[in-house]
């Protein structure tokens, strides 16, 4: 239980050895009741209450906070009333001791009619006893804690038959949240029937809550005794510092700074390793396999596509490890607390801070983490603006172009001007995300009220094994959901850049097989020249030239056009495409790409092709444009509608075009 802001938004499954058998354990997102108010709560509701859910559990284990039994029993008794075999686990029993609570487990078990086990999951206390209880036959409780039949028996009876359930309480909770899993026809029927019987949803739910708490009060009176103890002051002290109007923000900034530094420096080594390893693999395969179209597809389409996916794994793993630590210690709730007011001005929510910050590493997991925002409008705005935060895929493009247009020895206020420019680009990303949110706030309409009721958990040490699991899960999710699309698009782009109309490719090879070339150039130089000319004549090259009239106001030539097309799947492909176009060969050596681009001549002006105006315009284009298939895919998955990724693609594209146009016009 508990809905601390953070990353636990999917159900997780795992296998567990019981005494005589194996069980599949499904860990559901935390919730407070069977009346879901956000997407993650709906996931739990669907598993518990939908009779047709494939994950419908045999036994529900309710893990409750022993130090706060009253609130924990609310959900627990609701599940008991669903008539599902239930076991109550009182976790954090040490906390209850500290608060001076003594719980009579046997009496509690009798009152609820279900087995009660106490544990301390952090110290692995009594886990064996829990496994023993689950291994035995757990039966449905004979007790009904609150009989909702008194509310509107006629309406609930009809609801029972419409939802095909035989328990009044199940019908009650489905009737209160019909849209979660009922199909349109059934929920329409249900709505009509409820209206006919004059069923008042809110009134019924409030009445149930009051009755339930009254019943829980009685149970607690019988089972819990309270001894006064002096309370620990550490929590209050930490809160005082971490939510302080000066220290709170300074500490948060420091934490952010540390995380970014760590992500960028610590991940360099594994990222290099992955890249070198896969480039080496494709080189080795090219050497040992006979040359042919399939090998070419493997080595120049699929493996580079895979590289594009795997290269992000270290950063994503690190980012989520840090977020998990912040969440686990209870600090994230304080961050949301001190940021909410400022974020709300932009139509966002205190919880939007996490997705926005995560967006600096990768928009895909960031957009997933927006699920904890219960308000639909604030969640949509967060999803829509998160890709404006400069993600790590933009970094290779930024580095290349900055090195191209800003001399390395120039300084600004004592700092390297290159570094300042990089920071400026990140700032533009942040500011445009906030401003876009501010504008969208006016356009996205909702009747739903925004709320920000959130538990502030006690501070605790992080559970390292839990953090390891979170890291693995996020990486898996990224590789599977984004990976598929990136690989597919890479194959399409490989096709576009490897084939041309008619026999143009044959003619190129014929041209370079002539003697004059083999005398003048080395074999490698000729290979690179062939590759460059083939790309120019391929379908991708043709497309690049076709869009020149559209992009020339931004200062872009056909080579940039080709790179824009190929980097549609993922921004970092830009560097590789440039490498091919300037016949550098491998993209491995980015300094050679830079030298070639710096030496390139604009045939119209006779001057440098990459002037400051062109470079800056291109940088701005990459700051704004949504050139990332994975983001588009994840936005569709999260919003369940093509409308949102489409709007996002168009508005970010428009921002990119306009800002590049303005920049080019000014600096030209």
């Amino acid at each position: 239980m508990g809905n601390f802001p953070g990353v636990t938004v999917e159900k997780k499954t795992g296998l567990c050895n019981l005494e005589n058998s194996k069980a599949e354990i499904i860990d559901l997102p935390g919730c407070y009741s069977l009346a879901p108010k956000s997407i993650d709560e709906e996931i739990s509701f669907n598993v518990l209450c939908n009779p047709n859910n494939p994950d419908k559990p045999d036994v529900v284990v309710v893990v409750a906070d022993a130090s706060n039994l009253k609130r924990s029993l609310f959900l627990c008794t609701q599940i008991v009333d669903l008539k599902i075999p239930t076991v109550l686990v009182l976790n954090m029993i040490d906390q209850a001791d500290k608060k001076g609570l003594t719980i009579d487990f046997d009496a509690l078990s009798v009152e609820l009619g279900i087995p009660v086990v106490y544990t301390n999951a952090r110290k692995q206390t009594n886990i064996r006893a829990l496994i023993k209880v689950i291994s035995g036959a757990v039966s449905v409780s004979e007790k009904t804690i609150v009989d909702v039949g008194y509310l509107n028996a006629a309406a609930l009876n009809e609801a029972k038959s419409i939802c095909s359930v035989n328990n009044t309480y199940s019908a009650f909770v489905i009737a209160n949240s019909p849209s979660v899993f009922l199909d349109v026809d059934k929920s329409y029927l249900l709505e009509l029937s409820l209206q006919k019987h004059n069923y008042k949803r809110l009134q019924a739910q409030s009445s149930e809550a009051l009755h339930r708490y009254a019943a829980i009060g009685e149970i607690i009176k019988k089972c819990i005794s309270h001894f006064p103890v002096s309370e620990s002051k550490i929590n209050a002290l930490l809160d005082k510092v971490l939510t302080h109007k000066v220290w709170g923000y300074l500490i948060f900034l420091g934490v952010l700074f540390f995380i970014f530094q760590a992500i960028f420096t610590w991940s360099t080594y594994p990222m290099d390793l992955i890249e070198k390893g896969l480039i080496g693999l494709s080189g080795w395969l090219t050497d040992i396999l006979p040359s042919g179209i399939l090998v070419d597809l493997l080595c120049r389409g699929i493996i580079p596509g895979l590289t594009g996916v795997l290269i992000f794994v270290p950063q994503i793993a690190l980012l989520f490890a840090f977020i998990a630590v912040l969440e686990d210690t209870g600090y994230m709730a304080r961050v949301s607390f001190i940021m909410d007011k400022a974020m709300r001005k932009f139509g966002l929510n205190g919880r939007s801070v996490i997705p926005l910050i995560s967006g600096v590493a990768c928009a895909v997991p960031a957009i997933m983490s927006a699920r904890t925002i219960s308000n639909w409008k604030e969640r949509m705005i967060t999803i829509m603006v998160t890709p404006l935060m400069s993600c790590s895929a933009r970094l290779p493009v930024f580095t290349l172009l900055i090195a191209l247009i800003i001399p390395p020895d120039k300084t600004f206020l004592g700092f390297s001007l290159q570094g300042v420019t990089l920071m400026l680009l990140y700032l533009i990303g942040v500011v445009s995300a906030l401003l876009s949110a501010y504008v969208m706030r006016l356009f996205i309409k909702t009747k739903e009220k925004s709320w920000f009721i959130m538990e502030m958990p006690d501070y605790r040490a992080p559970r390292w094994d839990n953090i390891g699991i979170t890291m693995l899960e996020k990486v898996k999710l990224f590789v599977l959901s984004a990976g598929k699309i990136i690989v597919i698009i890479s194959i399409v782009l490989w096709g576009l850049s490897s084939f041309g109309p008619d026999d143009t490719f044959g003619r190129v090879e014929q041209k370079y097989s002539a003697n004059e070339y083999s005398q003048q150039f080395s074999e490698k130089e000729i290979m690179n020249k062939i590759a460059a000319e083939k790309l120019e004549l391929s379908y991708a090259g043709i497309l690049g030239k076709k869009i020149v009239p559209i992009i020339s106001p931004l200062g872009f030539d056909w080579k940039i056009g080709v790179s824009l097309i190929t980097s549609f799947a993922a921004r970092e492909v830009f560097v590789g495409t440039m490498a091919t176009l300037y016949s550098v060969g491998d993209a491995e050596n980015s300094s050679t790409v830079r030298e070639k681009m710096a030496a390139a001549i604009n045939p119209l002006t006779g001057g440098k092709a990459y002037t400051f105006a062109v470079g800056f315009s291109l940088l701005l284009f990459y700051v704004f444009a949504l050139q990332c298939m994975s983001t588009i895919a994840i936005v569709y998955k999260e919003t369940k509608h093509w409308k949102w990724p489409l709007i996002q693609f168009i508005y970010m594209g428009a921002l990119a075009y306009l800002s590049s146009f303005i920049a080019y016009t000014i600096f030209k």
Partner: protein, 74 residues
């Protein structure tokens, strides 16, 4: 004296009397804001909003606007 929760000063205690937003009151009740329960304003965010209150043995943060739908007797 009865007044909205948001008008308590930091550290002040009160007893929950009633709610004036039906939809929100349901969520609040589920989370332990029950009529009769003792409630204390424990923190105020740097910009004056949201606030954190201690109720039913734990600390919850909520926006002023939400807090003011809860009427407390103090």
């Amino acid at each position: 004296m009865k007044k909205p929760l948001g008008e308590l000063y930091k550290g002040q205690k009160g007893r929950i009397d009633s709610f004036n937003d039906k939809a929100l009151s349901l969520k609040l009740m589920e989370m332990g804001f029950l009529p009769g329960e003792v409630i204390q304003l424990s923190h105020i965010a740097p910009m004056g909003d949201p606030i954190a209150v201690s109720v039913s043995g734990y600390i919850l943060s909520l926006r002023l606007e939400e807090a003011n739908t809860i009427i407390v007797e103090c």
